[in-house]
C-alpha cells in the first residue's frame, strides 16, 4: 500500500492537531494543548479504489517561539495549510509557510482550510480575501474540527490530488 507523507502546517492554535485528531479518531477536545515537535498519525484512505496510507505529520505551530524545521518537510507528498478564520494574522503565516515549502521541497499538492467555521460570524478573513486566495490557485476549504465539518472533504481532496501523477513532486535538491 502506498504511503504519502502529508504535513499539517499553520500558525499556532489554528487547529492542526484538532483536524488530525478529528480525521483519525473522530474526536475533539476543547482544551488547547500546544504541540511541541512532531506527532505522526496514520490513516488509510481509498481513492479510486486504491488504498493509500496518509502519514500525517502534525507539526508544531509556527510562531516566534518555534519555526518549522525544513528537514521535517523533506519527503512530503503534499501538505495542508490550516488558517484560523478568526485571526487574520494566520493568513500571513500560511503564506510564509507555503513559500517555505516551495523553497525547500518545491511545489507540492496542497489544500488550505479555514478552520473554526462554527464561529464564522466572528471571522476576520472575509469573502474578498478568500476570493483572492482562490485567484492565486489555493484550493480553499471551510471547516470546523469542533463540529467535524469539512474535515473528510479536506483530506479526501488532498488524497485525490496526491493520486494525480501530474501533480507529483519532482526531485528537489
Amino acid at each position: 500500500m502506498m504511503q504519502k507523507k502529508v504535513c499539517m502546517l499553520g500558525g499556532f492554535a489554528v487547529g492542526k492537531t484538532s483536524l488530525v485528531r478529528r480525521f483519525v479518531t473522530n474526536m475533539f477536545s476543547e482544551h488547547y494543548q500546544t504541540t511541541i515537535g512532531v506527532t505522526v498519525e496514520k490513516k488509510t484512505v481509498t481513492v479510486d479504489h486504491q488504498d493509500m496510507m496518509l502519514m500525517l505529520w502534525d507539526l508544531y505551530g509556527e510562531d516566534e517561539f518555534q519555526h518549522v524545521r525544513e528537514s521535517y518537510l523533506r519527503g512530503s507528498s503534499g501538505y495542508i495549510l490550516v488558517l484560523d478564520g478568526m485571526r487574520k494574522a494566520t493568513l500571513d503565516t500560511a503564506h510564509m509557510l507555503q513559500q517555505t515549502v516551495v523553497r525547500t521541497v518545491g511545489p507540492l499538492p496542497f489544500v488550505a482550510i479555514i478552520n473554526k467555521s462554527d464561529l464564522q460570524s466572528e471571522w476576520e478573513i472575509d469573502q474578498t480575501i478568500i476570493e483572492q486566495l482562490r485567484e492565486q490557485g489555493w484550493p480553499v476549504f471551510f471547516g470546523s474540527a469542533k463540529l467535524g465539518r469539512g474535515v473528510e472533504e479536506l483530506f479526501g481532496h488532498l488524497a485525490t490530488l496526491l493520486m494525480d501523477p501530474s501533480l507529483q513532486p519532482r526531485a528537489h535538491s
Binding site: 492554535a13 506527532t39 496514520k42 517561539f65 523533506r74 519527503g75
Partner: protein, 600 residues
C-alpha cells in the same frame, strides 16, 4: 584526524550503563547497510514500556517510528557531505502505555565507522518548556482576543459616532430646510449653536454669535433683557415669552420658546418665532380702531383718518367741521402730530366769545402801551406757534375786523403786533374749526367769503356720534379704561343692556357727552360691570324710544320726513326741532337746505 572512539571496554561497562540509566537514554548502534538499530548497554526504563521496541534491536524502523526513519534518511544525506556532524532530530511524540504519549528526541552521532543513535525521552525540563510555550501562546490568544474585542468596540463606536454625526447632520439640514430659528445656550448662557435662520433674524454672522453671551447677541431693550433673564432662570422645563423687540437697523419682534435641555438641564434650547409681520398687522389693526387719540373704526372715521394722513402731508390751511364734542381739536392735534411740524409747538386757541381787541392781541400780540393795561410787549399766539401749528377753534365766531387781519396773515405770512407798524414774518400752519356752517355765515354776511376760501383749502368733516354708532362700544370701553385708570376704580366692562342704551341714545353732545355719561356711570357703579341703572337718567329715560329705529339708515326721503315731523312737533322752532332730533341747529338748517326742505 582523531581515531574513532571505542565503545567502553568490559571493565567500563558498569559505569557506562549507570551513565545511560542516569541520562534516561537508549543507545543504539546503527548498522547503516542493513538499517538495523541494535541496543547497546542497558535500556532505560521507558524502553521496556515502549510497545514495539521491547527487544534489543529495531528491525523495521518504518513500522517502529516513521519519524525516526525520516530522520535517519535525512542523517544519511547529511553525512554524505558532513560525515562528522552530530545531528539532532528535534522532539517528536510516540505512543506510550497505556494510551499515553512520550516525547523523544534522537541524536545521530558518528564515531568513526560506527554510527550511534541516542534516543532520549524528554522529561521534566521539556515539560517545563512546553508549559512556558503553552502559557505564552494562551496569553497571545487572550491578547489577540482582547485586541479584537477592542477593535470591534472601536468599530462599533466609530459606527455609532458616524451614525450620530449623520443624524446630527440630518437634523441640522432639516432645521435649516424648515427655516426654524433655534439656538442652544450652554450652562454659562453662551451661544453654542444657532441655525442660519436665527442668524438672519439677529442680523449677525456666526462668528459674531457663537461663543458669545445671549445678552450680547439679542439687542433687547433693558426691560426685555430682564424678562428674558427671568425666563432663563425659571425652573419650568418649558416657557415662552415675548414679543420682544430686537432693535437694530431693521427692528424685529420675536417670541421665544425656552426649553431646558433634558439631557443637560443647565443648557437651554431657544426657538425664536418672528412676529414682526403679526406685530405690524396688529399695529395696523389698532391704528384702524384708533388714530392718535381718536377712537373709532367705523367707515366714516376710517375716511377721516385717511384724510388726516393726507392733509398732514401738505402744509395748507385746513378747516375742520363738526358738531360740538366730536373731537375737532383731536383732529387738529392728529394733523399736527402726523405732519413735518410735529416737533414744533401746537397751540390751540378758542376764538368764541372774545372781543375784537382781546382776540387781536391774543393772536398777534401787542406793544407796551398799545392799550390800557398793555404794560409790556407781548407776543401773540402766531409768534408763539412759530414753526408749528395754530389751531383756531370756533373760527366762525371771530369778529369781522379780526377776520380781515387773519386773512392778511394767511396771505402775507406776517403779523403786526397791536400798537406796532412793522410786520413780523411768521411760519405757522393754521388749522381752523367750527361747528358753524360757514357757507351760511357767508350768505348771512357774518363771515368773509375770501377768508372762508383761504381757510377751507382742505377740509375735514367729523361725523356726529349718532352717525357712527358702531364706534360707541369701542369708545365707551376706551373711555371706561381711561376713567378706571384715572380713578383707580375696577370696573371691567359694560353690561350688554348698558351698551344697548348707549347705542340707542342720540348723543347731541357727541363723544364729550358719551364720556360724561360713562364717567357718571363709573362713579355710580358698585360692581365690576356698568349696568343700565348706573347711567345718567336722561339716557335711561330715553330708552323708551324704540331703539330699532335708530339703527335703520334713513334714505333722503325718510330723513326729510323726519326733519319735517320734528319741525312740526316743535311748532317751527328750529332749536327745539334740532334738540328733538339730537343734532345741532346748524346741522338741521344745513340738512334742510341740502334736502331742499325749507320749513313753511
Amino acid at each position: 584526524m582523531t581515531s574513532p572512539s571505542p565503545l567502553p571496554s568490559p571493565s567500563d561497562t558498569g559505569l557506562f550503563n549507570q551513565v545511560l540509566s542516569a541520562l534516561d537514554i537508549a543507545l543504539l548502534e546503527w548498522e547503516m547497510n542493513s538499517g538495523v538499530l541494535k541496543l547497546q548497554g542497558c535500556a532505560p526504563m521507558w524502553w521496556h514500556e515502549f510497545p514495539v521496541a521491547s527487544g534489543a534491536a529495531i528491525l523495521d524502523l518504518g513500522h517502529w517510528s516513521p519519524f525516526l526513519r525520516d530522520f535517519l534518511t535525512y542523517v544519511q544525506q547529511v553525512w554524505k557531505d558532513e560525515p562528522e556532524r552530530t545531528i539532532a532530530s528535534g522532539p517528536w511524540t510516540e505512543p506510550d502505555q497505556p494510551n499515553g504519549t512520550m516525547t523523544l528526541e534522537a541524536r545521530a552521532l558518528p564515531l568513526g565507522p560506527r554510527k550511534l543513535v541516542l534516543i532520549e525521552r524528554l522529561g521534566s525540563d521539556f515539560e517545563n518548556m512546553r508549559s512556558i510555550v503553552q502559557r505564552a501562546r494562551e496569553r497571545m490568544l487572550v491578547e489577540d482576543s482582547t485586541a479584537k474585542s477592542f477593535r470591534h468596540t472601536e468599530t462599533r463606536l466609530i459606527g455609532q459616532l458616524e451614525a450620530s454625526e449623520r443624524t446630527k447632520d440630518d437634523a441640522l439640514a432639516l432645521l435649516q430646510q424648515l427655516g426654524l430659528a433655534a439656538m442652544v445656550l450652554d450652562e454659562r448662557g453662551q451661544v453654542t449653536f444657532a441655525t442660519d435662520r436665527t442668524l438672519e433674524m439677529l442680523g449677525l454672522a456666526a462668528r459674531e454669535t457663537l461663543g458669545r453671551p445671549w445678552d450680547q447677541v439679542f439687542s433687547f431693550r433693558k426691560e426685555d433683557r430682564l424678562l428674558m433673564q427671568h425666563l432663563l432662570e425659571g425652573s419650568t422645563p418649558t416657557c415662552s415669552g415675548g414679543p420682544f423687540c430686537l432693535e437694530g437697523a431693521c427692528t424685529r419682534w420675536i417670541e421665544l420658546e425656552i426649553h431646558r435641555d433634558v439631557r443637560h438641564p443647565t443648557r437651554h434650547i431657544l426657538v425664536l418665532n418672528d412676529r414682526t409681520e403679526i406685530h405690524a398687522l396688529r399695529q395696523a389693526l389698532n391704528e384702524q380702531a384708533s388714530f392718535h387719540d381718536l377712537v373709532g373704526k367705523s367707515s366714516a372715521m376710517l375716511r377721516v383718518y385717511q384724510l388726516v394722513r393726507d392733509v398732514a402731508q401738505v402744509d395748507t390751511t385746513v378747516l375742520i367741521e363738526g358738531e360740538t364734542g366730536t373731537g375737532k381739536e383731536l383732529i387738529a392735534r392728529a394733523i399736527h402730530s402726523s405732519s413735518s411740524r410735529k416737533n414744533k409747538p401746537f397751540i390751540a386757541a378758542n376764538c368764541a366769545g372774545l372781543t375784537d381787541s382781546i382776540l387781536t392781541s391774543q393772536l398777534f400780540g401787542h406793544k407796551r402801551g398799545a392799550f390800557t393795561g398793555a404794560i409790556q410787549d407781548q407776543q401773540g399766539l402766531f409768534e408763539a406757534a412759530e414753526g408749528g401749528t395754530l389751531f383756531l377753534d370756533e373760527i366762525g365766531d371771530i369778529p369781522p375786523q379780526v377776520q380781515t387781519a387773519l386773512l392778511r396773515v394767511l396771505q402775507e405770512k406776517e403779523i403786526t403786533r397791536l400798537g406796532e407798524a412793522k410786520p413780523r414774518a411768521v411760519n405757522v400752519r393754521v388749522l381752523a374749526a367750527t361747528h358753524h356752517n360757514l357757507s351760511e355765515d357767508v350768505l348771512r354776511g357774518s363771515f368773509r367769503a375770501d377768508l372762508l376760501y383761504r381757510i377751507r383749502i382742505a377740509r375735514v368733516q367729523l361725523p356726529p356720534l349718532r352717525e357712527r354708532r358702531e364706534d360707541i362700544p369701542l369708545l365707551a370701553q376706551s373711555i371706561l379704561g381711561e376713567i378706571c385708570a384715572a380713578t383707580g376704580k375696577r370696573v371691567e366692562r359694560l353690561h350688554p343692556d348698558t351698551l344697548r342704551l348707549l347705542m340707542s341714545h342720540s348723543w347731541p353732545g357727541n363723544v364729550r357727552e358719551l364720556k360724561s355719561a360713562v364717567e357718571f356711570a363709573v362713579i355710580s357703579c358698585k360692581r365690576n360691570e356698568v349696568c343700565p341703572e348706573d347711567l345718567p337718567p336722561e339716557i335711561t329715560a330715553a330708552s323708551v324710544v324704540p331703539s330699532s329705529s335708530v339703527f335703520i339708515p334713513l334714505s333722503n326721503r325718510d330723513e326729510k320726513t323726519r326733519l319735517l315731523v320734528a319741525l312740526s312737533e316743535a311748532k317751527g322752532n328750529r332749536t327745539e326741532a334740532a334738540k328733538r332730533l339730537g343734532i345741532s341747529r346748524a346741522t338741521l338748517y344745513r340738512r334742510l337746505v341740502e334736502l331742499d326742505s325749507q320749513p313753511h
